[in-house]
């Protein structure tokens, strides 16, 4: 049995621990249960010690990290927002279409299982070298998978980010985020209690797909991974849509005790987590579970990750009310067990007890193992220490650099991907016609909106995981602030390599520290998320460390929603924040100069915070007409993006105290480009001066031409053609 346990991914000491806890040898079904529940994916055994260091308290927090399926935040007007991000990296590496589709389905289910209606989706994607045929196959499959699932399900995808780098050649990252709204106090908990209360399974029938998916996600990808194909689930967005409507309708009565969706580890996970939370036991009759094929074995039914299913505990005597709703939506709703006293889970098959395990020892925070891993500063840091900007030559033709950056895959428009997503269904998306740095949706029936964004520049994290992650949090906050919102809370998706590699674990721990520092500064507690280790190939080393931040912001008054695009010819352009003689880890340095090792761009958290507070203030006072933060590609790309929205050019002067390439293409942080009506210039300058904020006047919005220090850099239509079509050309040749 110990060998079987090892094959399913359990360590020898973990097996001994099972024997000790049960007081006997486990049988095969029980080993299967432990193997998934104690997998990295379900137990967070290698990360939880560090995750607990993150700030999780705040005045708006209604459900803290780990308490429910997703974080829950008070957004005022009697409303609460449930939001979370989750990865589906390994399934997408093997079967990009279904992998990405079920990733979207899974995260939406986490939201509506709490009683919240999903109203926005976001995603953060990482792919390998765009020139590889395999990368194009992955991009096609993932974008179509996300689109087909979300479009049919009927939730708009309103923001996202994509990076291409060879470190993701074999192991792409697919992180999907869902945001839902529920009336405060009307949520449903993932709990189970009250002996005699019936336990129901609702939604799709259970098949053999995704068995041991959680274990699969907890190991390195290797050549045989394609033969693990049955570990990848198949999605059915139509079933999910029915499940959504039925679930929200069923919740209108108070007949439901608790509910949890079935994601990783299926029935095993939902029965154990709900029981552990409600401090109750449960009897499950596996032969009652509706199955897609005959003769499924107990472990297969227990571990199946068939999609679009929920476990529901109902008050005894009120089953008919709930059954009626699911019947209306033509969904299975079948009793498969009942709650019992004690803390034991008993699984029966045709009257025979096939597994008996205490719920608490299976789950995170209960008896699941917890580890600290060894850390070691990565070797390549020595290369970074050798970097000196003075060794980087300044190109003579900066216009050529500007045009090459506009076509750079990490900078150019991602519309080839996102036009495949329905971004407007539900008719709340304000950023379709008024684009801003974050995705913005209005909340019907209120004056409010939400501003949401996902961010992580992995090159910065690679350069310094602590500072790079603090920048990721800051950039997400900056995007929300530039859109007119106030950052409220975050969810995170920590994508790293194998945690048993001390260099990887070092990056993980440093990223956590940086995230904590920045979240404390912005008062944005971490409401949960997902850890995805083992993102690497057996031969290619780990992916770049990618701690993706999904941030929620609130816009209290939608009339302050601020756009990123210039509005009028002749408006003045200001830069808030200070330019530095810095091109570190910029796309310009990485791609134009092919220099991989350099520090993070200049960053000071206090300065960042001060500048963001200033943006909040000048937006509230309605002093500016647009705001766009300086990020990938530097100031030039920022101005270009602001110009392209409404086809305006710009005429600016550079700062002769720093290198011109650094001024135009450097990515030093905490800078925001704003445009202002010339009548408001005085008020703006007074505000910024009185608040001690660094700023400079750059120039003016013009008709279609771009002029820098009097030099003609080309026209907006010319750049627009390059910027908007670059990815399409790369994808379709």
């Amino acid at each position: 049995m110990k060998d079987t346990a090892a094959k399913l991914g359990l360590l020898p000491e973990e097996y001994d621990r099972i024997v000790e806890t049960l007081g006997r040898e486990p049988n095969f079904t029980e080993i299967s249960i432990f193997s998934v529940m104690w997998s990295e994916h379900c137990s967070y055994k290698n990360s939880i010690t560090w995750l607990k260091k993150l700030p999780k308290d705040g005045s708006r927090i209604l459900a803290k990290a780990g308490e429910e399926n997703a974080g829950l935040v008070d957004i005022g007007d009697g409303l609460a927002c449930a939001f979370k991000i989750e990865s589906h990296n390994h399934p997408s590496a093997i079967e990009p279409y279904q992998g990405a589709a079920t990733g979207v389905g899974g995260i939406h289910r986490d939201i509506f299982t709490m009683g919240a209606r999903p109203i926005a989706a976001l995603n953060s994607l990482r792919f390998g070298d765009i020139n590889l045929a395999k990368t194009k196959w992955l991009v096609r499959g993932v974008s179509k998978g996300i689109g087909d699932y979300g479009n049919s399900f009927g939730v708009p995808t309103i923001a996202g980010e994509v990076y291409f780098d060879e470190s993701y050649n074999i192991n792409p990252l697919v992180n999907a985020m869902s945001v839902g709204i529920v009336e405060k106090g009307k949520t449903i908990s993932a709990t189970s209690y009250g002996a005699g209360n019936p336990v129901f399974i609702v939604g799709s029938a259970t098949g053999k797909d995704g068995i041991h998916g959680a274990t699969f996600a907890s190991g390195d990808l290797h050549e045989d991974s394609a033969s693990s194909l049955p570990s990848v689930q198949v999605g059915d967005p139509f079933q999910e849509k029915l499940l959504l409507e039925a679930t929200l309708e069923a919740m209108q009565s108070d007949a439901i005790i608790g509910m949890q969706d079935m994601g990783a580890a299926g029935i095993t996970c939902s029965t154990s987590e709900m029981s552990a939370k409600g401090k109750a036991g449960m009897v499950i009759w596996l032969d009652k579970v509706p199955t897609r094929q005959p003769d499924m074995k107990p472990f297969e039914i227990l571990l199946s990750e068939s999609q679009e299913r929920m476990l529901v505990v109902i008050k005894k005597g009120r089953e008919a009310e709930v059954e009626k709703v699911f019947e209306k939506w033509d969904l299975h709703c079948t009793q498969i067990g009942e709650v019992i006293d004690g803390d034991i889970l008993k699984y029966y098959m045709h009257g025979e007890l096939v597994a008996e395990v205490p719920a608490d020892i299976l789950v995170l925070g209960g008896g699941a193992p917890i580890y600290q891993r060894e850390v070691k500063e990565p070797e390549y840091f020595n290369e970074i220490k050798k970097y000196n900007i003075d060794n980087i030559p300044q190109p003579k033709d900066l216009v050529a650099v500007a045009k090459s950056l506009a076509a750079e895959v990490n900078i150019a428009s991602k519309k080839w991907i996102y036009e495949q997503y329905d971004s407007m269904v539900q008719t709340n998306t304000a950023t379709t016609n008024r684009p801003s740095d974050a995705g913005v949706i209005r909340l019907k029936g209120t004056n409010k909106g939400l501003a949401v964004k996902v961010d992580c520049n992995p090159y910065y994290v690679f350069a310094n995981p602590r500072i790079g992650t603090a920048i990721a949090v800051s950039e997400a906050a900056r995007n929300i602030v530039c859109s007119g919102g106030v950052p409220v809370a975050i969810t995170n998706n920590l994508n790293f390599g194998n945690p048993y590699n001390p260099e990887v674990y070092y990056m993980f721990t440093e990223a956590i520290m940086g995230m904590g520092e920045a979240c404390n500064k912005f008062d944005t507690p971490v409401t949960g998320g997902n850890v995805s280790f083992y993102n690497q190939s057996a031969d290619g080393g780990p992916v770049m460390p990618t701690p993706t931040i999904g941030m929620l912001g609130v816009i209290d008054d939608m009339t302050t929603h601020t756009q990123l695009g210039f509005q009028n010819d002749g408006d003045e352009i200001y830069l808030i924040g200070k330019p530095e003689n810095d091109i570190s880890s910029s796309q310009y340095l990485l791609k134009y100069h092919n220099t991989k090792y350099s520090p993070t761009p200049f960053f000071n958290l206090d300065e960042e915070f001060k500048n963001q507070e200033a943006i909040k203030g000048i937006i509230k006072e309605k002093l500016i007409l647009s705001a766009h933060d300086v990020s990938d590609g530097g100031l030039f790309i920022c101005l270009l993006e602001a110009g392209m929205v409404n086809n305006f050019g710009f005429d600016i002067s550079s700062d002769n105290t720093i290198r011109k390439d650094a001024f135009l293409f450097g990515e030093c942080q905490s800078r925001i480009v704003v445009s202002v009506d010339k009548d408001r210039v005085g008020a703006l300058e007074n505000y910024l001066t009185s608040h001690g904020v660094s700023f400079s006047k750059l120039g003016k919005v013009s008709t279609q031409n771009i002029s820098i220090d009097g030099e003609n850099f080309g026209s907006i239509p010319e750049y627009k053609d390059i910027y908007e079509n670059a990815l399409g050309v790369m994808m379709e040749g």
């Binding site: 036009e419 269904v425 008719t427 998306t429």
Partner: protein, 233 residues
């Protein structure tokens, strides 16, 4: 005017359409469930966008056989006013209330973006308040929006002024470059010969509120309001 919005399992623009009619226009609006066969005395029926019954078969192919659609077909054949948007347009074609079919987009991909429509006639309930030739900016969001019909049907549509909208650019130019999905003759919306059944792929309900930054879609709903008031008067 009392409006009915059909709800199939898998409809996902049903709430948006109700919001437009009920909240933005203050019209009495009821949701009509696919398993029912009662149109509850509605004056106009809206078949909304979405993925009826999952649309795993040809879009709209299953929906046309639902009990509510039997009632809608009967209603339309008696002269009742019916409008299909996106999936609703597909359903109305499948139900043979409108001629032609909607096929996969020429690029084989789902496309969601703002496009421009040139209004081809004011002679219909949904274009009554729009000048002929006026260009509207309205989003599309579909994978199967390529309008196709045989030459005879296209000739009839032209002859009878049944083509309501064509895909154009912002200046009203209609050509291949302004055709997002490969539709024949850039057709984006049509009506039947008796001018009581309408279908369009673009989503006017997504362009009807200032807070969303685009109110061009309101002209279509304004047309319906104007037409209804004239009819009553």
């Amino acid at each position: 005017m009392k409006c009915g919005v059909i709800i199939f399992p898998g409809s996902n623009c049903d709430h948006d359409t109700v919001h437009m009619l009920q909240t933005v226009y203050g019209l009495q609006t009821v949701e009509l469930w696919h398993k029912d066969a009662d149109l509850q005395g509605c004056d106009m029926i809206f078949v909304p966008g979405g993925f009826s019954y999952g649309d795993y078969l040809r879009c709209g192919a299953v929906a046309r056989f639902s009990p509510i659609m039997e009632a809608v077909i009967k209603f339309a054949n008696q002269g009742g006013f019916v409008m299909g948007i996106c999936n609703g347009f597909q359903v109305l074609c499948e139900a043979h209330l409108l001629p032609g079919v909607l096929m996969r987009n020429a690029n084989q991909k789902f496309i969601c973006k703002n496009i421009y429509l040139r209004t081809e006639t004011s002679d219909s309930a949904i274009t009554a308040a729009i000048e002929r030739g006026k260009v509207l900016k309205i989003p599309i969001a579909h994978a199967e929006g390529l309008y196709y019909a045989d030459d005879n049907i296209i000739a009839d549509l032209n002859k009878n002024h049944q083509i309501l909208f064509r895909y154009s650019d912002a200046n009203g130019n209609v050509n291949d470059a302004t055709n997002p999905n490969g539709s024949l003759s850039n057709i984006a919306g049509i009506c039947n010969a008796t001018r009581n059944v309408f279908g369009m792929m673009p989503h006017p309900e997504r362009a009807g509120e200032g807070i969303l930054g685009n109110t061009d879609g309101k002209l279509i709903f304004d047309s319906i309001m104007q037409f209804a008031s004239e009819k009553v008067a």
